[in-house]
Subunit: 150 residues, 2 copies
DNA sequence: AAGATTAAAGAGTATTTTATCTTAAATAAA
DNA sequence: TTTATTTAAGATAAAATACTCTTTAATCTT
């Protein structure tokens, strides 16, 4: 029962977010990011990362190009990509609506004991995530040289 | 990549918390709660629940008794059991200290891009969980007849 | 057009989490 | 002291998540 940690997001979520932060903080105006290079830079399994970025492409956050000098690039402008959109793409659309106790259909009509309490916290988190853009985080990462690897 | 939800706590965490809320909202001044009965009442696998409650006993939140009319009861007064203590017992002691990106050793000295931002959110959550007692939640549950089952 | 490069897709493996089943140990009651 | 009851503990199974490997499709270069 120990060893588990506040795992708000899955490994896929962690890796996807790290990749996006990497891309946003290494703004190149043209061209695509090579996934192999990124996987080595970030020390993430290449195939696994590929699949995660695929999802982000399917969700309309990234676009991809095959062939020599191919890779992935932003489809939307990082200014318009919220942390919320990223997390929802990677973790599921109902990410911010889940009951703390895991009860299905928990809500105003049939609340669990934690409902009102947890909703406040959740909504706060939701607001924070909705008002933070990838561009902001990327700029911070670049300027303050924040680390993206262990 | 869909179907995953904001899983702040594991199934063990959900079940353990639900059981504690059940106990706190069914205050009997003497005697122990029978685990079999609770497992049926809450629709949680008996053996799994037993193991979870075992952990809460080992962590000094509950006490247990074997044999006829045995069961589990509070070791500490629910007034003095914080939500924080419960979550930490069930999810690990470092629950509120984990990096959103999963980077080991993330902190002031070597922050990830999310560190300051996430720390604020985490600390807020931590504060909320530390200032909420099981007795309060249990009283609410009883008075407002909140549900603990699907 | 042929070959090289790169992401997409699918199948397969490993690890972790969740759940079950069996046996042991403690306690109580007859 | 025997039997019934109940939690503890350990072994096993199933499901979910994380990761790897192989093949395919798109694109570029020559």
């Amino acid at each position: 029962m120990s060893g588990r940690l506040m795992k708000v997001i899955s490994k896929s979520g962690e890796y996807g977010l790290r990749a996006l932060l990497y891309m946003a903080s290494n703004q190149k105006n043209k061209g695509y990011f090579n996934i192999r290079d990124m996987s080595e830079e970030l020390d993430i399994s290449f195939h696994f990362l590929t699949k995660i970025l695929q999802v982000l492409t399917q969700k309309g956050i990234l676009q991809s190009y095959r062939g020599p000098n191919g890779g992935v690039g932003f489809f939307k402008n990082p200014e318009e990509i919220t942390l919320s959109a990223i997390i929802r793409a990677l973790e599921g659309d109902d990410f911010f609506d889940k009951c703390l106790l895991g009860l299905p259909g928990c809500g105003e009509r049939q609340p669990c004991p934690m409902h009102a309490y947890w909703m406040d916290i959740r909504n706060n988190l939701k607001y924070e995530f909705e008002t933070t853009s990838l561009a902001d985080l990327g700029q911070d990462t670049r300027e303050k040289q924040f680390r993206l690897i262990a």
